[in-house]
Amino acid sequence: MSAQPKSLFEKVWDAHSVRQLANGQTQLLIGTHLIHEVTSPQAFGMLRDLGLKVLMPHRTFATVDHIVPTNELVEPYKDPLAQAMMDELRKNCAQFGVTFFDRASGKQGIVHIVGPEQGITQPGTTIACGDSHTSTHGAFGAIAFGIGTSQVRDVLATQTMALGALKVRRIEVNGKLRPGVYAKDVILHIIRKLGVNGGTGYAYEYAGTTFDGFTMEERMTVCNMSIEGGARVGYVNPDATTFTYLKGRPYSPTGAAWDAAVTRWQSFASDAGCRYDDVVKIDAADIAPTVTWGINPGQGISIVENIPSPETATSADDKAGIIEALAYMKLPAGQPIKGTKINVAFLGSCTNGRLSDFQEVAKYIQGKKVAPGVRAIAVPGSQIVALQCEKLGLDKILAEAGFEWRAAGCSMCLAMNPDKLIGDELCASSSNRNFKGRQGSVTGRTVLMSPLMVAAAAVTGHVADAREVFAVN
C-alpha cells in the first residue's frame, strides 16, 4: 500500500500506464476493447491499410446493436446498408480472430449490456469502446472510455491509446430515494444541476449511501449517462454488490482465481481521505421523478414543475437555449409538463434496457392498457435480457398491456434501424438523448424519463406522474 491515499481513477490509471508520450499524454493500456458494427469497420480498414494485426484479440469482444432491426430476425435484412455493416463486422472478427457475440450466439445485445452480463466488465480494469455510453461499465469500478474510430484503430493495433489524465469529481448522493424515484431520475437530476458540459475534463465518482444501496443495474443506469453531463468517465467503487453480480458469469474468474480477483478488485476502491478535484453533495430526498422538456439532457424538470419560460432564464445563454428548445419541442412556456400528449412510448436502450427495468414496469402495468393511438415498444437490451424477461412472463404482461415486445438492439434510441419517430411525434423515452432529430425524424421530439414514467405516459397518453398513475407509495 502506498502512503498517499488515491482515488480509484488514479489507481486504475497508474496500473495501466505504459509510458509517457512526447506530447505529454500517457500511453494507457486498455485491458478490454468492446467493438460494434458502426464505429469499427473504418478502423479495421485503417488496420489493413497499415498492414497491422489486432494485438490482443483475446481482449477484444464484438457485438452488433445499433443497426440490427428489432422486428426482423432473418438475414439478409431489408436494409442493404445494415446488412453490409453486419457482414463487414462478421468478416473482420473472423479475419482478426475477435470473439463476436453474433445474433446466432444467443448473447448478442447492446454492447454496454453484453459486457457486464458476460462478466467481461470487471473492477480495476480499463475499457474502451467506440461509443460514448461506454461510461456505463464504470458501474463496476472500471475506467471506461468512449472513443472515436481512430482510437478504435489504436486500441486494435496496440491495445493502448494516448490520453491525458482526468480530474475527479466525487458526486455523493445520500439517503433513500422517495417511492417512484429511480436511478434514471438521479442522473437526470445530476445533469440538470451540473450542466451538460459541467463534467468536461472530469471523471465522475458516484458515491454516498444511495449508491451503496443501488443494484448493479441501477449503478449502470447512472454511469451510462455520465457523458450527457460532459464527463467522459463515471464510476462507482466496487463493493460486495459488484462481486456478487460478477460471481459465476462466463468470463468471471473461478476457484482460487476468483478469491484473488476479489482481493485485487477491492484494492482499487478509492482510499479514505484521497484527494478529489471537486465534491458535490446531493440529498436523495430532493430528487423527484424527472423528465426533460428540451433538446439536451440537462434541460430537465421534475414532473410537478412547469416548463421553463424565457422570462425565467438565468442568463442570456439560458434564454436563447429555452427559446430554441421550446420552438423545437412545440411546448408551451410556463405550463405544466404533466399532461403533454405523447405519440410513442419507448422502453429500452443501454440506459434502461435491463431486466430490472422491465420488471418494474411489468409490476405496475399489469391489468392496464396503453392508451389508444400510442405506439409502444419494449426492447430488451440483449438476447439474455429478453430470455430472462420471457422466463418470468414479463413479455406477456407488456404485450397484454399493449407494448410490442421486440428483439434486442439499440432500437429507437438513435435511429440507425427501422425503429424511428415519424414527423413531429413526441416520444416518452427511457433512452439517454433528446437531441434534435435523435430518434430518427428531423422534427421528432424526445422526452427522457425513467421506465416507469414511460409506462405511465403510455397508459395515459400523456406525460404523467407514475406515482399517481400507478399509486406508487
Partner: protein, 201 residues
C-alpha cells in the same frame, strides 16, 4: 510516421452560432450507415441545412459567400454527445481544417486532434468579433495560428487557447499517436503481463 506539422491554418471562416451543438446535429446517425468515411462531407449539419422536405434552409455553410471556407466558428460545448468520429470526419471532408469555439466536448476534441483538425478555444466576445468581421467581409482571411495561440484576421487578432498536448502534437507533427503507440508495444506487453485479467485464456 512522419506527419505534417500543423502550425497554422489559413482560410476564410464561417460562423455557425449556437451552444451545445451535438454530434447528432453535426452528422445525423442515419448517414453513419457506412463502412468507410468517404462522402460524409455533404451530410455535415444536414438536418439543419435542409427542411424535412429536403429544401435548403440557407444555412451559413451553404451561403455562396462562404463556399470554400476552411475555418468553422461556433459556441460553447461544441461536439457534445455521441463519440462518433464521423462528426469531425464530416467537418474535414466538407473542407474545414480548423474549428474555433468557446469550448469543446472532450471526445470530439480528441477525435478532431487525431485527424489533424486544430480545435481552439476563444472567448465568446472574441468569437463575436471575428464573426462580425466575417459578416462584413466574407472574404477576409483568418489565420488560426496554433503555434502562437492566436487567430489573426485583417489587422486584428484574438488570443486562443488549446490543451498543450494537442498543441504540441499538431505543431510537432505527432497529432496522430499511432506511430508512437506502436513504438511502445514492447512496454505494453510488460504492463499487460502485470495485470492478471490480461492473460490469455
Amino acid at each position: 510516421m512522419a506527419l505534417e506539422k500543423i502550425t497554422s491554418v489559413s482560410g476564410r471562416g464561417v460562423y455557425v452560432p449556437g451552444n451545445d451543438i451535438d454530434t447528432d446535429r453535426i452528422i445525423p446517425a442515419r448517414f453513419m450507415k457506412c463502412v468507410v468515411f468517404d462522402g460524409l462531407g455533404e451530410f455535415l449539419f444536414y438536418d439543419v441545412r435542409h427542411t424535412p422536405e429536403g429544401v435548403p434552409t440557407g444555412h451559413p455553410i451553404d451561403k455562396p459567400e462562404h463556399k470554400g471556407a476552411k475555418i468553422l466558428l461556433s459556441g460553447a460545448n461544441f461536439g457534445c454527445g455521441s463519440s462518433r468520429e464521423h462528426a469531425p470526419q464530416a467537418i474535414h471532408k466538407a473542407g474545414f481544417r480548423a474549428v474555433i469555439a468557446e469550448n469543446f466536448a472532450e471526445i470530439f476534441f480528441g477525435n478532431s486532434t487525431t485527424l489533424g483538425i486544430p480545435c481552439v478555444n476563444a472567448a465568446r466576445e472574441d468569437i463575436a468579433k471575428v464573426a462580425a468581421a466575417i459578416e462584413k467581409n466574407p472574404n477576409i482571411e483568418l489565420v488560426v495560428d496554433v503555434a502562437a495561440l492566436e487567430v489573426r484576421y485583417g489587422s486584428d487578432k484574438i488570443p486562443v487557447t488549446q490543451r498543450e498536448s494537442a498543441r504540441d502534437g499538431l505543431v510537432n507533427g505527432r497529432w496522430d499517436a499511432i506511430g508512437d503507440l506502436i513504438d511502445g508495444i514492447p512496454s505494453v506487453q510488460i504492463t499487460a503481463a502485470r495485470l492478471p485479467y490480461m492473460a490469455a485464456a
